[in-house]
């Protein structure tokens, strides 16, 4: 274990700090709310290596060698400056790593750079009404016709489908094959004729996800990623990245900081919340969980750099990370008490109602990307080598 920062790193820290200071008035946010502001910031970050840092230059990244200390310094300095970090949609977090792993050279050239720059927004078309946890049972069909696939079927829970330009989608191309072997991974435009999107309102009051219907949607066969019938393996590469993103400890750290501020500022009956040992203890308990996951994250990066398998430390990230985020929101709501239940445009609302919004949305994330129960099956079966549940014949 060596976590010392040598002079090279202190210089790097000064560089990041200088950058954030110089470009303070470019931060997108309430004062700079447009998409153009966000795109300009993303480009600025990539140009300076603070986003898409280790993605090859040839594909529009910054092309740096992976360096865990530098990544950590960047994360720390951005948190300290309360500066917006790079974009992290399903395209950047899931599709790009997948293309890097299994895409053709042409696909990498065409899709990665504009996706990194935030110019193309992607959605993930995996789940179907009858296929959630049992994703491999999916029924959306793609049949060959000339040089095209023709797609018919329905997806559900598709996040951001309304805004998306493109979709990465699982379809059944080999209906006769065993269920895991008959799936292909296609990418296509959401503007393709035959696609209908119906928003689904969730408990937050907003439509965070959608139903997507396909009727004779034509997609050139070249838009397959990986081989025909191997979509399951390709999708699993993506799911791995999704689970890493959903359990991201940086998000938990900045939430913890926000709750700490809240407890310093808010009073009940004239007493600051932080002066009450009960609130302080709950806060410190959460801090321990957040720190453990933060350091677990550093351990994962090191394992990856050293070519070691992350093992259990990787398998628990989604389960723990999503639970921590949900529990952090719960703590903020509890600390706010009756103020914490306010929502919408109520007077006395705190943080725009975002603690309630997160409390509810994060419950969705505990379910999305593989439910907590499925995560536990994976930890016990793959991680601990325990026997699988006996399968029903034919399932």
């Amino acid at each position: 274990m060596d976590l010392s920062f040598g002079p090279e790193y202190e210089a790097f820290r000064a560089e990041v700090r200088g950058f954030l200071d110089r470009h303070k008035d470019e931060y997108p946010g309430p004062a700079r709310p447009t998409r153009a502001d966000a795109l300009a910031w993303q480009r600025r970050l990539i140009d300076n290596g603070y986003a898409a840092r280790t993605i090859p230059k040839a594909y529009g990244g910054y092309g740096a060698e992976p360096d865990i200390l530098k990544s950590r310094i960047i994360a720390e300095e951005f948190t300290r400056a309360r500066a917006p970090t790079g974009m992290a949609g399903q395209g950047i977090s899931m599709l790009v790593p997948t293309l890097l792993e299994v895409g053709t050279e042409a696909q990498k050239q065409q899709w990665i750079a504009p996706t990194l720059r935030g110019e193309i927004i992607w959605c993930q078309g995996y789940s179907e009404p009858g296929s959630g946890s049992d994703l491999a049972s999916l029924q959306t069909r793609a049949t060959e016709d000339g040089g095209d696939f023709v797609i018919n079927g329905q997806k559900i829970w598709t996040s951001t489908a309304m805004q998306a330009d493109m979709i990465f989608c699982l379809v059944r191309t080999e209906p006769e094959a065993p269920k895991h072997a008959g799936i292909s991974y296609l990418i296509f435009s959401m503007k393709t004729p035959g696609i209908e999107i119906r928003p689904l309102k969730t408990m937050t009051g907003h439509a965070e996800f959608n139903e997507v219907f396909f009727t004779d949607v034509r997609v050139p066969q070249g838009q397959i990623v990986g081989k025909r019938g191997e979509g399951w393996q390709v999708a699993n590469a993506t799911l791995k990245h999704e689970r890493g993103m959903l359990g991201d400890p940086n998000q938990a750290e900045s939430r913890l900081a926000a709750i700490t501020d809240l407890m310093r500022e808010e009073t009940v009956g004239g007493e600051r919340l932080i002066d009450n040992p009960v609130w302080r203890d709950r806060l410190m308990k959460m801090q321990a969980r957040v720190l453990a996951m933060k350091f677990n994250g550093l351990r994962l990066i090191s394992a990856q750099l050293n070519g070691e398998s992350p093992g259990l430390a990787g398998l628990i990230v989604k389960l723990q990370g999503c639970d921590i985020n949900h529990e952090l929101a719960a703590l903020a709501i509890d600390a706010l008490g009756e103020l914490g239940v306010l929502y919408g445009d109520s007077p006395h609302l705190r943080a725009g109602g975002s603690w309630q919004q997160r409390y509810m949305f994060d419950l969705g994330l505990i379910i999305g990307g593989g439910t907590a129960q499925i995560q536990k099956n994976i930890i016990s079966e793959r991680g601990l080598g325990m026997p699988r549940e006996p399968k029903l014949a034919g399932a």
Partner: protein
């Protein structure tokens, strides 16, 4: 000894179930929530017809003269049906008037409350749960000045029960001068909260000294009962869904993981029923234990309710968080019950204080 409901109580629960199934299906709840309706008058009129508005009001004033346990059974039924009723405000006002009102005050207000003709707001949050955002009400010379937040059923209240900063209770007519009402929107759109400002507003003191603690204990118990009903319904929905939904070629309820989630919810919630019954019974019959058990009932139901709300949603998977299914109405009902008039940490502190384990 007989730790259970009487025949009359079972009959009341049955008739309430029937009435709510008819008057308050989920579509009615949705309409109330979506349209920003201040009070579901149709529902309240229907419930008043079977005596619900006057459950705890004496027969001489047109009520049924029942106990807090009966009111808790009604609150549980309203939680089950996420019913948008002004029951809490009306019942708490009746309790305050009976405990501390003069004969004149009682005969002026109790009969129309029992008939479901007038509605009541209850402004005791600051005195019970601690003041936020500088709220608080001062009483001087028969007048009130200040702000009360999280006022229960404030929107169309014809009278208010108001606690002042010293813990005294006051009766204020809804049309008294100097009152401003501002709606507060919470996650739970099945109930209405408000901010009420008083400026030199004439008020009549409610004389009895112990009135506020009694009122608080009753309120805690009724909120606990509301969560009990809402949680019970969420478990039933989860069990039913787990018996229908298929993944991997089998109903998900056949996975031990899912069964255990349902069993854990039940193991947590089932003892809560007895806790709520006891707390409610104690309020009438074992006054020495009433405040302790009321505080624990609300604090514990809040913790169990949160667990059940999350877990029942998880059993449903993605559909569980959609508006389409509407499970969130129960989730949010439990969320509001938890914070209203004090969260579990505060109530457990109260429990320790009244047992002399620690100084206030």
């Amino acid at each position: 000894m007989d730790f259970g409901l009487s025949q009359d109580q079972k009959l009341m629960v049955d008739s309430l179930e029937k009435a709510l199934a008819q008057l308050c299906p989920l579509e009615r709840v949705r309409a109330f929530a979506d349209k920003d309706e201040p009070v579901a008058r149709d529902l309240w009129a229907g419930l008043a017809e079977i005596g619900v508005a006057g459950l705890m009001i004496g027969e001489e004033h047109g009520g049924l003269d029942l106990s807090l346990l009966d009111a808790a059974l009604a609150a549980e039924a309203f939680g089950r049906h996420v019913a948008p009723t002004p029951f809490l405000g009306v019942t708490l006002a009746a309790i305050a008037l009976r405990a501390a009102g003069s004969n004149a005050q009682q005969s002026r207000w109790l009969p129309p409350l029992a008939a479901g003709e007038v509605l009541a707001g209850v402004a005791i949050s600051e005195a019970v749960a601690g003041a936020r955002d500088g709220a608080g009400v001062n009483a001087a010379g028969g007048k009130l000045t200040g702000t009360s937040l999280f006022v229960i059923d404030a929107a169309e209240a014809d009278l208010f029960i108001v606690a002042d900063n010293a813990g005294g209770l006051h009766l204020v007519a809804g049309d008294a001068p100097g009152i401003t009402r501002i709606a507060l929107t919470s996650i739970d759109l099945t109930r209405r909260l408000g901010e009420v400002r008083f400026k030199d507003t004439p008020a009549e003191p409610l004389a009895g000294g112990e009135a506020l603690p009694r009122l608080r204990d009753a309120a805690w118990t009724l909120l606990a009962a509301d969560t009990l009903g809402a949680g019970q319904r969420m478990i039933e929905k989860a069990v039913a869904y787990a018996g229908e939904r298929k993944q991997f070629g089998r109903v998900i309820g056949s996975f031990q993981a899912v069964k255990h989630l349902c069993a854990e919810m039940t193991a947590e919630l089932e003892p809560c029923r007895a806790l709520v019954w006891y707390a409610a019974h104690a309020w009438n019959a074992v006054p020495d234990e009433a405040s302790l058990t009321a505080a624990h009932a609300k604090a514990h139901l809040s913790e169990v309710g949160r667990f059940v709300a999350r877990t029942a949603t998880e059993v449903h998977g993605g559909i569980g968080i959609t508006d389409l299914l509407g499970l969130h109405y129960w989730f949010k009902r439990i969320g509001l019950d938890r914070q209203l008039l004090g969260g579990p940490e505060r109530l457990r502190h109260h429990a320790a204080v009244i047992q002399g384990l620690v100084a206030a």
